[in-house]
């Protein structure tokens, strides 16, 4: 079922991680709905790094995701109480049209907004009056030939007037803004915790209380996507070489092939504590209607066959938790044993001393030139990328444009995510100070690209490239999540909570343990 929740790797700057990478983004990336006429939030850039740990000395590296700090921002002013919508991509809807009927796409909504704006601009209510306005609106509607644009237009002048200045799509979803009372009655709070560097050594990041939480209170709901444990096995040429990192974030039981991944915000940061006296939270099955209690007596096969999520845990405080205190749960005795075993038998993975963290390179003020890299090489794992508008760049190369400057292909590096058409492999030729004419000097780079455009094999140089347009990523299959000996273990749901009917591996040897 998680195919509904997978994002393309462009959104998560993970396009170079492997041949094909799909990403799950909890919170807004999994829990928010999409309505193409009401999209009001979007993902922006993220950071990559293993919390300052290095594989040559740290046992925890590879056991937690190195992709964090993915932010979502408002794409417009949003009133209090409004539902948040992300853009799942037009394809998500167009591939469902056979089931759900004709679907207006974002361009249809944009076009209707333009038509309405134009209508209001040319309408002079004072001289023409309401009656004329009603008539000219009807005429306007008749003149629209595209059925999907027509679908999203307000049907009458009165409707159009009622949403003037807002998005017309609001007419189709009249309940989209809720009162504080409604939210308190029907909602569950999602920002009681925030992420930060964990106090547990080698754990990476953790979750901390945003405000005081009393004993017995809800810290966060954890809606769950269900999946088969076997999907985390990594096979290389039919040989089993390990498990996927996502296993470390799922909840399950050693006697079951059913595992569940929470997808509400921040909950995936919550750590285990080996000292159980420090544990300040526990899970319980939710009592609300989004947890199908009836599934507890169903088989694993039945649940895995369900297309929609239907299970929910709640993360509850079991002591009073002060603001900024880290949240800990008990991952189970099996997990503690496995971790102790991992720590005891840990050896640095092969070539780890030649491995360079791209986070360190990305944070560095200066970038080494190719000449300097001969003396002081970058890690074997590093690829250098340059941000630029690749299509315009390649067109200029083909047209033989000389003395290329970065500003002609510039992209907003703080907002763009990694995509084929906004970044390219590049080499750093030279580092220099910009000339004094511009007033203040700054460090700029000359880079070159080889064989980027069809049939061009010579070096193509680009001048005046700023530091922030040069970016480092890992070569495919070299980042920390690909370390074969990294710790991999799911989180255990206690025996007394785990339904007996889900224990399909009870008399068999589990493949994952």
């Amino acid at each position: 079922m998680p195919q509904h929740y997978f994002w393309s790797s462009d959104t998560s700057r993970s396009g170079h991680e492997a041949d094909i990478t799909l990403s799950i983004i909890p919170g807004l990336g999994a829990l928010a709905n999409s309505h193409l006429g009401l999209v009001n939030v979007q993902a922006t850039s993220l950071s990559v790094g293993s919390a300052g740990y290095h594989r040559s000395k740290d046992v925890g590296v590879g056991a937690f995701s190195d992709r964090y700090n993915l932010n979502f921002e408002a794409t417009e002013n949003i009133p209090a109480g409004m539902e948040l919508f992300v853009n799942y991509g037009s394809d998500y809807f167009s591939t469902r049209e056979n089931k759900m009927g004709p679907m207006p796409m974002m361009p249809d909504y944009f076009e209707s907004e333009d038509i309405l704006e134009d209508f209001w601009k040319h309408l002079d209510l004072d001289t023409s009056g309401n009656k004329n306005a009603t008539e000219s609106y009807a005429k306007l509607m008749d003149s629209i030939t595209k059925p999907k644009v027509k679908m999203v237009m307000p049907k009458t002048f009165e409707e159009a007037e009622s949403v003037r200045g807002a998005k017309a799509a609001i007419l189709n979803v009249p309940n989209v803004i809720k009162s504080q009372d409604w939210l308190d009655d029907n909602g569950m709070c999602l920002d009681n915790i925030y992420p930060g560097d964990s106090k547990v050594p080698q754990a990476g990041r953790g979750a901390f209380a945003s405000r005081k939480i009393n004993n017995g209170q809800l810290i966060s709901p954890m809606p769950l996507m269900h999946m088969n444990k076997n999907v985390f096995r990594v096979l290389n040429d039919e040989r089993e070489i390990g498990t996927q990192l996502m296993l470390n974030y799922v909840f399950g039981h050693e006697k079951s092939s059913l595992v569940m991944l929470p997808y509400s915000p921040t909950v995936n940061f919550v750590n285990n504590h080996a000292d159980k006296s420090k544990v300040n939270a526990r899970m319980q099955w939710s009592m609300n209607k989004y947890h199908n209690k009836s599934w507890e007596v169903e088989s694993v096969e039945y649940i895995l066959g369900q297309d929609n999520a239907g299970l929910m845990l709640e993360l509850m405080a079991i002591t009073d938790i002060e603001k900024d205190e880290e949240i800990y749960i008990d991952y189970g005795a099996k997990w503690d044993e496995a971790w102790a075993d991992h720590v005891q038998n840990w050896k640095a993975p092969p070539r780890s001393h030649e491995y360079m963290s791209v986070e360190v390179l990305n944070d560095a003020e200066e970038v080494r030139t190719e000449k300097e890299r001969v003396e002081e090489p970058l890690g074997y794992n590093v690829i250098t990328l340059c941000w630029l508008e690749v299509t315009a760049f390649e067109r200029d190369i083909v047209h033989g444009v000389q003395e290329l400057k970065w500003k002609d292909y510039s992209v907003d590096v703080t907002r763009e995510n990694l995509e084929d058409d906004t970044s390219t492999y590049c080499f750093v030729e030279e580092r220099y100070q910009s000339d004094r004419e511009s007033g203040s000097t700054r460090t700029l780079y000359q880079i070159y690209v080889v064989g980027s455009a069809r049939g061009i094999e010579k070096k193509v140089f680009v001048d005046d490239v700023p530091r922030e347009a040069i970016y480092f990523v890992n070569k495919p299959y070299t980042s920390d999540q690909h370390i074969e000996s990294a710790f991999r273990h799911m989180i255990h749901i206690p025996d007394d909570m785990f339904p007996k009917n889900w224990m399909d591996l009870d008399h068999k040897q589990s493949v994952m343990e």
Binding site: I20, L22, L84, R164, M188, L190
Partner: protein, 216 residues
């Protein structure tokens, strides 16, 4: 963008929006449950509740007004799942019948040299059977059954960071010897137009279309 007018309008009219299909009893029960769980979250800014789009499950709501470009939730983690293998690749490059035949032919045979596909294409299985059946059992079986040898490349990885752009520039056809061993994955993706098919599945920045009904 919402104008001020609209914000005022919506606040004024929110009471009108607060209709639910629940009976009073159910409503107060649910309300008590939710309020008991969250009673000290007075300054909560982000809520999970039923989506305002009917039959769409849960949704997210902001309890505070947000300005354009304001960050909406806590910085989030990304969980990557790589190489949905062999499923995505097999699904996109094999027909159902081919899949069955392929698994019968390949069984548990393996290649132990990365040049096997190339050698098999060059006829080495017939010329040099003793060596080849030992080292390249899989490639020779695929060749003998008349299946497409290039599909073996689905499970191999590229060894050069620029493989994708080499393949895009047509190197797989021009320079098959080097490319088959150095960029097997990119050549495989290129030959079976997997990138185009994947783009179509995912959109440019979107969710995977579940109409593909990939078993997970």
């Amino acid at each position: 963008m919402f104008s001020n007018d609209f914000q005022q309008m919506s606040w004024k009219d929110t009471t009108m929006f607060n209709t639910t299909d629940q009976s009073m009893d159910n409503k107060s029960q649910a309300s008590n449950y939710h309020r008991s769980l969250t009673r000290n979250s007075n300054d909560c800014q982000l809520y999970m509740a039923e989506s305002s789009i009917p039959h769409s499950g849960l949704g997210l709501y902001t309890a505070i007004p947000l300005k354009h470009e304001q960050i909406v939730q806590q910085p989030e983690i990304v969980l990557n799942y790589y190489d949905y293998t062999p499923k995505i690749k097999m699904l996109l490059s094999f027909s159902e019948e081919e899949k069955v035949e392929w698994s019968k032919v390949v069984e548990d045979k393996r290649d132990s040299n990365e040049s096997c596909v190339l050698w098999a294409k060059q006829g080495e299985c017939e010329v040099n059977p003793n060596f080849m059946l030992d080292v390249c059992a899989k490639s020779c079986a695929v060749k003998r059954a008349g299946l497409d040898l290039d599909k073996i490349l689905a499970t191999q990885h590229d060894k050069h960071p620029e493989c994708k752009s080499f393949a895009r520039n047509g190197e797989c056809d021009v320079n098959p010897g080097y490319m088959t061993t150095t960029c097997p994955q990119s050549c495989f993706m290129r030959k079976f137009e997997l990138e185009t098919k994947l783009d179509r599945m995912l959109g440019k920045k979107g969710l995977l279309a579940s109409t593909l009904l990939l078993e997970f």
